[in-house]
């Protein structure tokens, strides 16, 4: 209990004094996570829409695989990305290991299936509603997917926020591929792991509270921007 209270005090102190290191690692956390999220959405949202409107033989297998990939252990993803990017790996020449780019790559792999799966479920329901109308109006496949993405945007926000939540709180993979290097690849989650290991509980709790606060602010802001739960039922 004492550690938690001390952590609260520490969090306040860090925020009020605009601690330079705190700001640096917070901004890095946001940059890595948001970049990974944008890439995951660019891949995952149209993929979800495509799976909703397209009927093909292996569709069920693809969806089942996608859902299984949600549970991909981040540590294993980190390990595989590490091996691919390491000096002796196939992409070693790119020199990406222990950089924020490597962390982004790992996070994209982790959250894309989650974003695509939630997007698919939302758009599948919308598609069953729109199906006859869009077929009747002779919409092309691209137009159908675009219509679902636009009209399902509030449900897609949920998909994006789930991806954001998973990425911002992720530690296993980015610890492996980023290396938690001070000033280069240290982010909120890896800093918390480090401070906890060093017995600096107050600082760790403070960082933890800031992490939770960050997730809340991003969620509120995006709901406010898209005006969810304010008009009608969607």
């Amino acid at each position: 209990m004492g550690d938690l209270l001390a952590g609260l005090g520490e969090a306040l102190r860090l925020i009020v004094t605009l601690d330079a290191e705190l700001i640096e690692i917070t901004l890095r956390s946001l940059r890595v996570t948001l970049t990974a999220l944008v890439i995951a959405c660019v891949i995952g949202l149209p993929l979800g829409g495509w799976l909703a409107v397209r009927r093909f033989r292996l569709r069920r297998a693809v969806i089942a695989t996608l859902n299984a990939l949600i549970g991909l252990p981040p540590v294993v993803v980190g390990l595989v990305v590490y091996l691919l990017l390491s000096r002796s790996g196939p992409f070693g020449v790119l020199n990406l290991l222990f950089t924020p780019t490597a962390m982004i790559i790992a996070q994209v792999v982790i959250i894309t299936p989650l974003v695509a799966s939630i997007a698919h479920q939302a758009m599948r329901d919308l598609w069953s509603e729109y199906h006859d109308l869009l077929i009747s109006m002779n919409a092309t496949r691209g137009q159908r997917i675009l219509t679902l993405l636009v009209d399902g945007r509030r449900a897609l926000l949920t998909a994006a926020l789930a991806g954001f939540g998973r990425a911002i709180g992720e530690v296993g993979a980015i610890m492996i591929v980023g290396g938690n290097i001070d000033g280069a690849t240290r982010v909120l989650t890896t800093a918390i792991a480090l401070e906890t290991g060093r017995g600096q509980f107050a600082l760790a709790v403070g960082l933890g509270l800031i992490l939770i606060g960050l997730a809340l602010v991003v969620s509120w802001a995006s709901h406010w921007v898209l005006r969810t739960e304010r008009q009608g039922t969607w």
Partner: protein
């Protein structure tokens, strides 16, 4: 302009999971007039319309337009029994079919405002379409179907859940569209409505055309006992 009509159905049959929904149907739709499909519930009125429109592929037989299918599809529109509203504003709903055809945003908007005035939807243009009342929704669906000036309009029980005033409005718009050259093909279970607007009647029973012909003759004296019984209001099995 080369016309998509006449439409010719030859032995056209629609099946779902092996069960015959409608057919085999032999029917020719000429270039003008109002054809109304009537018949008891489950006789295949909706399936017939969906088959003609191409929403469902025929299992046997053929549905032939006078144009290649892709072009013919561009000349048709369909109003569903339960109107489908896109989760957008009324304006965006009206502009949607034009936007699909590559009309510019401004051009589509101007047309949408014009047709909204005709269908008494101007006050609702900014409102979200799913929040409309039943009558407004059906007016929106009809306006959205007519905005592309289709050569053929299919309407499946367009007044099924509407009150008298709303029904009169919709019928007015339907007959106005027919008068301005749109070929109207409609399904209804409302015999009064069929008498009011049909030029030609198709009486369906068990998924087949049991009797068809000019409306005046059909209503004056149907030639089959089943059609006569149906017009009397008996239950026809």
């Amino acid at each position: 302009m080369v016309a998509a009509l006449p439409l010719t159905l030859r032995g056209a049959t629609l099946r779902r999971r092996g069960r015959r929904l409608v057919g085999p149907v032999d029917l020719t739709l000429g270039p003008c007039g109002v054809t109304v499909a009537i018949g008891p519930n489950g006789s295949g009125k909706t399936s017939l319309l969906r088959m003609m429109h191409g929403l469902q592929r025929v299992a046997e037989g053929a549905v032939d337009w006078s144009l290649p299918e892709a072009e013919a599809r561009q000349r048709q529109a369909y109003v569903f029994q339960h109107p489908i509203a896109l989760r957008r504003s009324v304006l965006a709903n009206l502009a949607y079919p034009l936007r699909l055809r590559g009309v510019t945003r401004a051009g589509a908007r101007a047309k949408a405002e014009e047709i909204a005035a005709r269908f008494d939807l101007t006050a609702q243009l900014g409102q979200s379409a799913p929040s409309l009342s039943g009558g407004e929704m059906q007016r929106l669906a009809l306006a959205r179907a007519l905005i592309t000036m289709p050569e053929v309009l299919f309407a499946d029980e367009p007044c099924a859940a509407l009150d008298g005033a709303a029904t009169r409005e919709i019928e007015g718009h339907l007959t106005a569209a027919a008068a301005s050259g749109t070929r109207l093909v409609m399904a209804t279970h409302d015999m009064g409505q069929a008498r009011r607007i049909a030029d030609e009647v198709v009486f369906l029973l068990h998924g087949r055309i049991h009797e068809s012909g000019p409306a005046a003759r059909f209503f004056a004296g149907p030639s089959t006992p089943e059609a006569a019984a149906f017009l009397r209001g008996d239950i026809v099995e």
